[in-house]
Each structure stands twice: as structure tokens, then as C-alpha cells.
């Protein structure tokens, strides 16, 4: 669009000079590739999982919304159920060092064990690079990638934003629905929803 500018006064409001920070991954397009190390020191690249359905679960065990789903056993049930069907479930933590949710590898493994969590791997993204790449805003924030590497779901875990475990039973679980659809080779019925949770605790240096 071309138009003559007689006077241009540009007043910027809004702080963070993070040009692409929260733009993030786009549903319907290729999920951005990344490489991160897990809590056992093993490296994982998303591209290596082509041919599999992948879940990215942004996590922070200190956040009351994450505690809602882990405390009720809801997240663990999804992890076990779907990894049992060949889904690759990657928990991702983008807390900066010193921020809530940041843990050493040993602490992570102890927490996973204590909670009976069963992700395929728990990836450490302390620099926040992958979080920003995906536009991860909350914990939890859920993404589902199909076997062709296309992002088919991005958003909340379900449709009842709250910290109350009692809300889980009656909620529509968008992740389960997206995974069921993808595993059946169908289009995902709800591809975008509002993610709810605590803010991802990116390091301030970002």
C-alpha cells in the first residue's frame, strides 16, 4: 500500500524490543526446528522426530496452573496414555536461571519421579530461545506437531482456565482431542485456543 506521508510522527509504546519474541509458531505451517538437551544430558532435535506425532508441553512445577494438572494426575495420564500410542511427549522448561521453575538436571529427574511424570524427555531451555521461537507465553502452553512436521495445535490444555483441580473433569481437553484427531489422520477439530497459566519465566536478559 502506498500513500504519501505529509507528516510522520512515530510514537512507540510498549517496551520489549523483542521483534519476533511472541510471534511464535504458526498453526498450519511447519513447526520450527530446534535442538535442546534433556535432563539426562541427551540432545533432541525436533526434526529427528519426523514421522511421529509430537507434543510440546511448556512446564514450570512451581506454577499453580501446572500444579493443578500434575496434582490431579491429569498431565501424567495424558503423557502415559499417548506415549503408549507412539506419541513423543516433550516437556520444555524455559525458565531462566534463578527464576521459578528452573532446576538442575538432578532436581528435574527427582521431580519427574516424585510426580510420576512420564514425558519422553524433559528439555531444558534456560536461554528461552525455543520458548520465544514458539511464542510460549504460559505454563502450561501446549503444541501438537503432526508426523509431517506441521504444527496442528497451539494453545491451552483445556477450556477451563483456573487453578482448581475440580475443573478438570468437566473440561474439554484440547490436547487429547488434537492427538486423537492426528493419530486418526483427521484434521484437528480445534487448532487454536487461549493458553492459560502463569507467565513463562524468561531470563531478563532476553
Amino acid at each position: 500500500m502506498k500513500f504519501a506521508l505529509f507528516a510522520v510522527a512515530v510514537v512507540l509504546f510498549g517496551g520489549a524490543a523483542l521483534a519476533s519474541a511472541q510471534e511464535g509458531a504458526v498453526v498450519g505451517k511447519a513447526a520450527p526446528d530446534f535442538t535442546l538437551t534433556d535432563s539426562n544430558g541427551k540432545s533432541h532435535s525436533l526434526s529427528a522426530y519426523k514421522g511421529k506425532t509430537v507434543v510440546l508441553e511448556w512446564v514450570n512445577f512451581g506454577c499453580p496452573f501446572v500444579r493443578k494438572h500434575y496434582g490431579a494426575g491429569n498431565m501424567q495420564k495424558l503423557q502415559k496414555g499417548y506415549t503408549g500410542k507412539g506419541v513423543v511427549w516433550l516437556s520444555v522448561n524455559s525458565s531462566g536461571e534463578g527464576k521459578e521453575g528452573f532446576h538442575t538436571a538432578a532436581e528435574i529427574n527427582a521431580l519427574l519421579s516424585e510426580k510420576g511424570a512420564a514425558p519422553s524427555a524433559y528439555l531444558v531451555d534456560a536461554s528461552g530461545k525455543v520458548g520465544h521461537l514458539y511464542g510460549a507465553r504460559t505454563t502450561p502452553h501446549m503444541f501438537v506437531i503432526d508426523p509431517q512436521g506441521t504444527l496442528v495445535y497451539a494453545g491451552g490444555i483445556d477450556d477451563k482456565p483456573s487453578t482448581d483441580q475440580a475443573d478438570i473433569a468437566g473440561a474439554t481437553n484440547y490436547v487429547a482431542a488434537a492427538l486423537d484427531d492426528t493419530l486418526a489422520g483427521k484434521a484437528v477439530r480445534t487448532s487454536v485456543s487461549k493458553p492459560y497459566g502463569c507467565s513463562v519465566k524468561y531470563s531478563s536478559a532476553e
Binding site: M1, F3, A4, L5, F6, A7, V8, A9, V10, V11, L12, F13, G14, G15, A16, A17, L18, A21, Q22, E23, G24, V26, V27, G62, C63, P64, F65, G96, K99, E100, G128, H132, R137, T138, A154, G155, P161, S162, T163, D164, V192, K194, Y196, G197, C198, S199, V200, K201, Y202, S203, S204, E206
Partner: protein
């Protein structure tokens, strides 16, 4: 009515009695606290008139650095919620939200309040309310208080008001706060429009609106439209003044762009509640 009266916490500093003209057992405000937030239910007036609407307020007072959220929290967070228990025939309306403030941390942007906020709620009495009767009002309130971390808070607040045939007297303990809060409510403004491109929404004011020299902020009321963390640039070209809002790439172009436009001029805040209609891109 068969309603059980709620348990409520009393802070020692909160006075329970009102002015000399009121009966000593009328409770006009009760308080409940979490770690960083004290919640109080206030009535603007001292009685209920049958068939009329009175205003109650949920006051949330926050410890330094902590905040609670607006009706649309932004990137993260959760707005306060009120579940009312009222006698049959009484109706509580929607919360009237004072204009919010923007919070930013690590690239995450949220909308809400710090220090103190009064959320106003209209309550309407049925015409059949009996003069001389007492009306118990109970509010189950939950919120999310955040600083670097977030803590859910909840409490149940109750108060009792007498039904009187005459127009109610104002509550001297609360009248100033209600008046101040009304000044913080966005006022409805018409004539705003928006245009959209592949990755932006451009907000345009009506001809009569004069752009200030200071930054203007738009707080989106609906989710999944704009990126909350993106800078909002104002510029003036041949088409006039406009505010550029970066679209959420997973969002859709709305039929109406709703939200609050906040600007400052001559030291005063102007908060406008807009429902902008779409126009073809100029």
C-alpha cells in the same frame, strides 16, 4: 431462603459499625486475605430500595509489587472472579472494570492492577423486596496474585443490607472510593474503526478525537487478535492518525475490535471503551 451464611475473616482494623443513624448490627463490609492481597466487599449505600439497583464493590488491596488481572489478562494470568449468592429475585450484573495498566516481564505482557482496585458490580432488588427485611449478600471470590511468581487467592465475603422503602443514604465509609473509581472507568466512545493487513490491525479514531503527543495504549478486550507484547506504534499519514497493532499469527480478524484506549494529556488520563468497526485498508 434457606441460605447458609458464609464464614468470613475479619481483619481487626476494619470497622464494622457505620454512622450514628444506622443500626449497630448492619455489616457493610467484610474482609478476607491471602498472602499478598486483602479483599473487601463494600456497599456504596446503606440500604436496598425495592426494584432499584445499588452498587457493590470488590476492593483488592495488593502488597508492593504484586498485581491482579483485568478482565482480559493478556499473555498470562487470570482475572478475578466473583460468584454471587443472593436471595431469590436479586440479580448481580457484570463487573465494571477500571482501566488497566500494562505489566511486562521477560517479554510477557499482561493487563491488570497494582496497589488497589475496586471492581464495581450492580445489584438489582426485586420490586417485591420487603421493607424491614435484611438481605444477606455473599460473594465467593477468587483471583490470581502475581509478582515474579503467582499464587491463587480465594475467600468468601458477606454483608447484610436492610431493605428500606426510601432511597438509600450513601455510605460515608465508602462514598469517596466509589466516586474515585467511577472516574477510572473507561467511557464508551463511538466512531472508532480499524483496518487490517496480513500482520497488522490499524486502529483509527473518529475525526473529532485529537491525538496527544504522548503514547496511546490499546488494551484488547478479546483474546487471539493482537500480540500483547508487541510495541504499539502511532503514526500520522495521509489517512490520518492510526495505531499499529501486531496481529497474533494464530488469530483471526475480528468482526469488532473491542477494548480500551488509554491516553494522557495535560496530566489527566482519558480511557475510552471502544468497539471499532472494520473498514477497508486505505
Amino acid at each position: 431462603m434457606g441460605m447458609t451464611l458464609p464464614l468470613f475473616l475479619l481483619a481487626a482494623a476494619v470497622p464494622l459499625s457505620v454512622g450514628a443513624a444506622a443500626a449497630a448490627d448492619i455489616t457493610l463490609s467484610t474482609t478476607g486475605s491471602s498472602k499478598n492481597v486483602t479483599a473487601t466487599l463494600l456497599s456504596e449505600v446503606q440500604s436496598i430500595q425495592p426494584g432499584q439497583t445499588l452498587w457493590l464493590g470488590l476492593k483488592l488491596e495488593m502488597a508492593q509489587g504484586w498485581h491482579v488481572y483485568w478482565k482480559q489478562a493478556g499473555d498470562a494470568g487470570l482475572p478475578p472472579r466473583i460468584k454471587w449468592s443472593l436471595p431469590a429475585g436479586f440479580q448481580a450484573g457484570d463487573i465494571a472494570w477500571p482501566y488497566p495498566t500494562r505489566f511486562e516481564a521477560g517479554g510477557i505482557t499482561s493487563y491488570g492492577y497494582h496497589d488497589r482496585v475496586l471492581l464495581l458490580v450492580p445489584v438489582t432488588a426485586p420490586p417485591t423486596a420487603a421493607a424491614g427485611s435484611m438481605v444477606p449478600v455473599s460473594a465467593a471470590v477468587n483471583w490470581l496474585e502475581c509478582r515474579e511468581v503467582c499464587i491463587p487467592g480465594k475467600t468468601t465475603l458477606g454483608l447484610e443490607l436492610p431493605v428500606k422503602a426510601a432511597a438509600p443514604a450513601s455510605n460515608p465509609q465508602t462514598v469517596a472510593l466509589f466516586k474515585e473509581t467511577r472516574g477510572l472507568l473507561p467511557r464508551p466512545a463511538r466512531g472508532w474503526t480499524f483496518e487490517s493487513s496480513a500482520d497488522h490491525v490499524f486502529l483509527r479514531p473518529p475525526a473529532a478525537w485529537k491525538a496527544p503527543s504522548t503514547p496511546v495504549e490499546f488494551f484488547a478486550a478479546d483474546d487471539n487478535v493482537i500480540l500483547y507484547a508487541a510495541p504499539q506504534a502511532a503514526d500520522t499519514g495521509a489517512g490520518g492518525w492510526r495505531l499499529s497493532l501486531k496481529r497474533d499469527p494464530n488469530g483471526t480478524v475480528p468482526k469488532v475490535l473491542s477494548g480500551v484506549v488509554v491516553s494522557r494529556r495535560n496530566g489527566a488520563v482519558e480511557a475510552l471503551d471502544i468497539s471499532a468497526k472494520p473498514k477497508a485498508l486505505k
